[in-house]
Symmetry: C3
Subunit: 139 residues, 3 copies
Amino acid sequence: MHYREVETASEYVARLETGADWRAEIESLADEVEADAAWFTALGAVQDAELWFYDQDECEYYPLAFDEPLEVASCVGNVSLLEGDRFAHTHVVLSDDEGVAYAGHLNEATVWAGEVHMRVFEEPLEREYDETTELDLWL
Amino acid sequence: MHYREVETASEYVARLETGADWRAEIESLADEVEADAAWFTALGAVQDAELWFYDQDECEYYPLAFDEPLEVASCVGNVSLLEGDRFAHTHVVLSDDEGVAYAGHLNEATVWAGEVHMRVFEEPLEREYDETTELDLWL
Amino acid sequence: MHYREVETASEYVARLETGADWRAEIESLADEVEADAAWFTALGAVQDAELWFYDQDECEYYPLAFDEPLEVASCVGNVSLLEGDRFAHTHVVLSDDEGVAYAGHLNEATVWAGEVHMRVFEEPLEREYDETTELDLWL
């Protein structure tokens, strides 16, 4: 296992803008507060969503599109540097009007309402290519 | 995007009382430690639950009742002031005896067992009516 | 309600090892940093999983096995002492290649990739048998 002690430099709460992209909004927050490493949790609702499923055999992401209003029942993720840019690795659990849950890696989603808590770390985190999983991982 | 830097004034872990209401218990904790703004995550199990789904066209919540024991696989939320009272905005992911997940905005649920981590912020958060979504949002 | 004020002694980010057990990895981190009480959230993917559902009438856990690659859309849990050992109480939300979500108490799962944030508390937490639920609870 790879781990690193981190120190929280600052903490933020944010409200995501209705109509904006969920993940882009989180990356905007990271840009605005110059967070090169951060951890966040969030909740809210979206107007649509595209999840990505990672095929562990093919080592490729496949998109799953949802074109309906969904609650964001859970959102956990982190910010790190990926090829020099701040990238918000974002996993969510969504639910439809019958409470049925869909979940996975969030690529994009149109915000209806979103509330985020982000803690920014002193130490940067940088993603690098991992040969085993063909994913960009940190540490 | 609207955001605010916050400082953690204090942190708590809590065990929710079996038979009590999940959200009311979190609000009791907030009352007891005088938290006007807080962020929490939690896990556990409930004996039943009522989720609310927000209809983005009608701008109204609809209830979804579950009358069976469910795991609380995830709970993310925050405490803020709503018309002068402490309100715990609470999203959950629940699961039944086959592992099937249901999720959304939690109105009420009878605690079987619950474990909460809450961080209380120095700065208060207050909800106000938002015309676009017809929700009470902060910031 | 039972609660305790805690202080964060240290914080960590960790990457779980591909092929290792998800929960054992978190317990290894706790052992390595000597965390007798901690709170964590995490995300990632696993190659398989065994969830446990707690039957509230029988007061017994039943296993639910999943033999396929799954995203870890959410993971919330805590570390405390159970009969002298560090135990990571771990709830997860998983999703399959169609985005369908499964959730509950995680017993074991083979890591594909995992990213964890753990905060370690100064004060230890110890689990003891609770007669009402027949679970080992703290506080």
